[in-house]
């Protein structure tokens, strides 16, 4: 078993025919492990994160009648609930029910990708006790596995969306190439948040209970049930609310996603820049917090 640690100085015995790994463990302070070794160990075990994600989803729907079909049923039901909510609250959409439905689907599925990454990550360390107590491995594998699980839940919803998109008679153009960088920005941002909340939950178990509510509020603050331009219209004059709305990291991320999908155009440059900045901040902050603390996890759970 390849063992890793912050202080592990992996060296090979000079000249030995079959190299014997040597590990040295010394006391640590709350600082980052040697990143090169850490990332190499993480990369070496990437298949684990993938298989674990696959297995987790399989285990989840193991005993249900519909099984893996739930990956499609779930988002459809969810979209139906929110569509009804919006229709009840603000009447039927101006440009037809189907178009209104795609507005909600696009934002909702995108939002749920981020939400799932954060939600699954928040329990991956506190729920991984047995593994953490019995094996030495880079702990970031567990949030990484949560990321993969979320992606596996995300892509079927994109297929569902594509069907609705064409059914609503919406256009597809070259601008759709922008979806790739926006997706990358969103993934990096969400993973950073996932790392942060995974470590946070070790120190404050209440995180797991508070998070679902915070995430629910987040959906209403994000351009999910409405578009960026609709929000700007409605909030015009209310500087304070508009500021909160714009300070939300999902505002540039889901906002630019919706601009491409719903308006078939390149996203605003400012939104892209703003979203990327959030992604970098989240990843650096989340990774620093998680990596500098992870050697303590085994003591804490």
């Amino acid at each position: 078993m390849a063992v890793m640690d912050a202080e592990a100085q992996v060296a090979n015995k000079g000249g030995a025919a079959d190299s014997v790994p040597v590990h040295v463990y010394e006391p640590y302070a709350a600082h980052l492990p040697p990143l090169k070794t850490y990332l190499r160990d993480l990369w070496q075990r990437r298949r684990f994160a993938y298989r674990m994600a696959h297995a987790t989803l399989k285990g989840r729907n193991y005993e249900t009648v519909f099984g893996q079909l739930w990956l499609v049923i779930n988002p459809l039901l969810l979209a139906a609930v929110y569509f009804m909510l919006v229709t009840v609250l603000s009447g039927s959409p101006e440009d037809g029910a189907m178009k209104g439905f795609t507005v909600i689907l696009s934002g909702l599925f995108s939002y749920y990708y981020t939400r799932n990454i954060i939600q699954l990550s928040s329990t991956c360390i506190t729920g991984g006790g047995k593994m953490i107590m019995n094996m030495a491995f880079p702990k970031a594998l567990l949030p990484l596995s949560a990321l993969f699980s979320s992606f596996m839940m995300y892509w079927p919803t994109l297929v569902v969306y594509a069907v609705a998109h064409f059914a609503a008679g919406r256009a597809v153009g070259l601008a759709f190439a922008w979806l790739v960088p926006i997706f990358v920005v969103q993934t990096v941002f969400s993973f950073g948040c996932g790392l942060f909340f995974a470590a946070m939950a070790v120190y404050f178990r209440d995180t797991a209970s508070l998070l679902p509510y915070a995430l629910r509020i987040w959906i209403y603050l994000s351009p999910v049930l409405f578009t960026v331009s609709q929000a700007k219209q409605k909030l015009a004059g209310n500087e304070w609310l508009l500021w909160i709305f714009k300070a939300n990291p999902l505002y540039p991320i889901i906002g630019s996603w919706n601009q491409v999908i719903l308006e078939n155009r390149a996203p605003d440059g400012m939104l892209m820049l703003y979203g990327s900045a959030w992604a970098v901040v989240a990843l650096l902050g989340g990774a620093w917090f998680f990596l500098s603390r992870e050697r303590e996890f085994a003591y804490r759970i």
Binding site: M1, A2, V3, M4, D5, A6, E7, A8, K13, V20, P21, V22, H23, V24, Y25, E26, P27, Y28, D41, Q44, R45, R47, F48, R51, M52, A55, T56, K58, G59, R60, Y62, G128, K130, M131, I132, M133, N134, M135, A136, F137, L141, Y203, F204, R205, D206, T207, L210, R295, A298, Y299, R300
Partner: protein
């Protein structure tokens, strides 16, 4: 653990090459002045609410438990090290530190070779998943490639003798089946150093015998085994070096027979006896 008093479990008569003399082998593990202090929260489950309350009262939230105190020892490859001691002696904590799971608070640990752990119930990340999936996940988590794990899979499944249960969710396993699989995974990962923590208590007599034979085979191949056990007979039978820990301190080390004798006397007369003498 296999016991010498159980004739079924007795290690098989020496076959193949004899165990190599550890004195001629290179260093396997060196532990220098190792201390491990747990800093645990006062309440069982740390919550934000209690943290705020305590912050208001400016109370300390952390209590320190010295699980291992200034322990030093070293062994060469080919050693079967038995670690004995009462509950709470710090045996399992020390083993986890050698595996790299718990970082030392003070001191230094040097480990030469690949380590495989057989701690508590080793495998089983997800009891919803089948034995097969858990075995593959376990191998991948240890940094092996998918091809390497697949190559080992048949051997692991054969040794564990679980038959069609390998493709059933592990929640349907008995505790003995669980341990058979855990043991099989642990010994088939080509470890240079195998860490075993009371891992065989639930297997049936036949499997214990098979497990003892497998461990003996590893010893002959100059592998190193560190065995934490309350079963004195298994330590006496398998180990060629012994450590005795008590409340985190290293009481003595040396020949298993002598150390176990000393430990048993200590258990019989107990700590109170030393105090009684003063009365």
């Amino acid at each position: 653990m296999p016991t010498a008093s159980d004739p079924e479990v007795r290690a098989p008569a020496a076959e193949g090459p004899p165990r190599p003399d550890p004195r001629d082998q290179p260093l396997a593990v060196r532990v220098d002045n190792l201390s491990i202090t747990y800093r645990t929260s006062v309440e069982k489950v740390p919550t934000l609410k209690s943290a705020i309350k305590r912050a208001g009262r400016r109370e300390r939230t952390i209590r320190e438990i010295e699980a291992v105190r200034d322990v030093s020892w070293s062994i060469n490859h080919g050693t079967v090290l038995g670690v004995v001691g009462a509950n709470g002696a710090g045996k399992s904590t020390m083993l986890r530190a050698i595996a790299g799971i718990l970082p030392p608070t003070r001191g230094r640990i040097e480990v030469h070779g690949r380590v495989s752990t057989l701690l508590a119930l080793g495998v089983g990340f997800n009891s919803q998943l089948t034995g097969r999936e858990n075995v593959i996940l376990g191998g991948l988590a240890q940094g092996k490639t998918e091809a390497e794990v697949q190559a080992k899979y048949e051997e692991i499944a054969d040794f564990a003798e679980l038959g069609e249960f390998m493709d059933m969710p592990m929640k349907s396993y008995s505790s003995g089946m669980y341990q058979r699989l855990a043991f099989s995974v642990g010994v088939h990962m080509d470890p240079d150093i195998l860490l075993v923590d009371e891992a065989l208590s639930a297997g049936d007599a036949r499997f214990k015998r098979k497990a003892a034979a497998k461990m003996d085979e590893l010893c002959r191949a100059a592998r190193t085994i560190i065995l934490v056990s309350h079963g004195m007979a298994s330590v006496r039978e398998m180990a060629n070096h012994c450590l005795w820990l008590h409340k985190g301190k290293l009481m003595d080390q040396g020949d298993p027979e002598a150390i176990i004798g000393e430990y048993m006397r200590f258990l019989e007369v107990g700590e109170e006896a030393f105090a009684m003498e003063d009365v």
